[in-house]
Symmetry: C2
Subunit: 379 residues, 2 copies
């Protein structure tokens, strides 16, 4: 085990003045410990949560129209300014190079004494720092992929699949009968649609464009509401009345749509109630914000009674509640249905150096629905 | 049991066109059933929740500057317009006279066969329709007051005391270590302060004026923050850091203060955390909105991570969770400490006819902190 692996690693570093630098470092890994493996990274996705790290933070990303390329072709480097208002919340990352990339897939090229069974296998892995040519991981953070699985198919095995399955665990634990999903044509949304169809769980998909609605309907979705449609609100109430869905997941965060959904739930719930109750119905309505696609304030501008809640939903917290066994059970299902229920689609694949091109950053930085990018670090 | 009791009853009636009529009706009660008593109402408070019924709804009260007196001295009547935007949420009360008054105290003047032990006793009671000279109630909705208790002392035995104690039950059930209370100089807030002092529960009181802060400090409150103070936010973070209070109760609803409190909790929670976590701390922060003093939208405009929740808090729902035994236990304490911990203070007492004077409506309709009115229907 004398071989040492060296390769490129993408870094995002913020300084005191609010300048964010994206560059590549040449790093050499130490020898793996007994429970560790070295993985040659073949594919790693750019998730919205990765973008938040790469480009500043969820609340203070750099201005995509003001990216300065200052490096060479071989060593591309981008500098950009983080808004001053966002700096205080990022003080703990000032001066600390962050290595983005929450998950990925690759081949085990070196394995510790307890991990020899993985040598030569293709694995899916997680833990940050995946935007690199080589990554050392503990075996508890990787899963051997079924034979014949491509790296692209294995690259997004954790975040989206566990999030979608996590939604269903929340549904069960908090005793709701159906789900509303906003920005539902995303990779995650299409995955959730497939799971809910398979498990017969009522799902109300809310999208913002007719073409997104079509994608979901073509995939068999029964309830698809387009918020750009003039009859959106009536349609939403009708779907909520039919499905009794009282649990919503919202990756957008900003704006008034969360409030609109809760109000529609209340209208649906009150339809069969006789008489006047000045406090609203006692049907409990829950909306979870699990992303921040829109950084504008969340505005609650409708009367929804008193039986409601809006809160944050974070995969890490939910997995902790499930415990290792609960999580292992979910991952088993993901592994079994990796190319069907849990398949991801990518707009394009980018080599590590391409990730640092201004045009590419603007493309993946837009976080457009359906626009998901894969990094292939060996390319 | 041939005696029939007749008297005045205040009514609030909305018609199709959005006209709200407040008037008095002469009503005659039937004979009480076996488990019922007739109470001569001596005192009944105007709670914020009563105001919502009296003047329209929580979201669509009438304009206080446009009250038309149309009755006589003996039969005062007020008409006013409910905003058209608020009408849809009130459709179920159109054409139905509502009789406000959630709680009160008085003397039992007639009792059913199973209720003879209450005859001649002064009782506290609840159930709506208390703005009347006589009220029939089931014995399960009334509590005999300790000998020597005045009607004014017994009039507010349910809503505020059970709400304040309900906050503590929520604290225990949801495992928080301290409470933040907004608009904390209200009758309810001063009561909560006394309970928390007695039970050694950390309480952070937030008020909007220096004089309100003084009232609470004079009552022994340790943490009092005045939001009009220029160092309010730092002070709040400091108090939250010391108390570890992660549960807030907000009777205001509208505006950005809910968001400000959650953000201050997150800042306090992150103070001792090392390193950068882009998702915020995992300290769970809860704010409950239990009133709608401000009808403006609730605006969540700060980054508070993902471990947070904002929701409605309604006494009725919480009492249902506690069950009859749990509630009885709380009421026992209230009865024991009625003139100390659970004492209420009133700005003025109004006869039933005075309640329908435009000047009086404007005074009690303002919902100013500390301005609480008592109705004495026999006066």
């Amino acid at each position: 085990m004398t071989e040492r692996f060296s390769g490129l690693q993408l870094r995002s570093t913020l300084d005191q003045s609010g300048t964010l630098t994206l560059d590549l470092a040449w790093t050499t890994l130490s020898s793996p410990g007994p429970d560790e493996v070295v993985v040659q990274v073949e594919a790693t996705p750019i998730n919205p949560s990765d973008l938040a790290v790469l480009l500043g933070s969820a609340t203070g990303p750099v201005n995509l129209d003001d990216l300065q390329p200052v490096g060479s072709e071989k060593w591309p480097t981008i500098v950009a300014k983080v808004p001053a208002t966002a700096l205080p919340s990022m003080r703990d990352r000032i001066g600390v190079p962050i290595t983005p990339g929450a998950e990925g897939a690759g081949v085990v090229v070196c394995a510790g004494t307890h991990a020899q069974h993985l040598l030569g296998r293709r694995v899916a892995m997680r833990g940050g720092g995946m935007y690199a040519q080589y990554r050392m991981v503990n075996i508890r953070d990787c899963v051997a992929l079924p034979d014949g699985t491509s790296a692209a198919d294995g690259a997004s095995m954790f975040i989206n699949p566990l999030t979608a399955l996590g939604f269903l665990e929340t549904l069960k634990a908090e005793r709701h009968e159906g789900i509303v999903h906003l920005a539902a044509a995303s990779n995650l949304g299409r995955m959730l649609n497939r799971i809910c169809l398979a498990d017969s769980i009522p799902l109300v998909n809310v999208v913002r464009k007719a073409e997104q609605a079509r994608i979901l309907r073509d995939a068999g979705a029964r309830y698809v509401l387009d918020s750009s449609d003039q009859h959106f609100e009536e349609g939403l109430v009708e779907a909520l009345y039919e499905t009794k869905a009282t649990l919503a997941f919202d990756p957008i965060g900003g704006g008034a749509q969360a409030s609109q959904v809760l109000a529609a739930m209340e209208t649906a719930a009150s339809r069969d109630v006789k008489g006047y109750n000045r406090y609203g119905t006692d049907v409990f309505k829950q909306l979870y914000i699990y992303g921040t696609l829109d950084l504008a304030p969340t505005v609650l501008d409708r009367w929804v009674g008193f039986a409601w809640s809006i809160g944050g939903w974070l995969l890490t917290h939910r997995l902790r509640q499930l415990g290792p066994d609960g999580e292992a059970k979910l991952l088993k299902r993901v592994s079994r249905e990796l190319t069907t229920t849990f398949a991801s689609q990518y707009t394009a694949a980018l080599g590590l150096r391409n990730v640092l091109q201004p045009d590419a950053i603007r493309a993946y930085g837009r976080k457009a629905t359906g626009g998901k990018y894969l990094i292939t670090p060996q390319g």
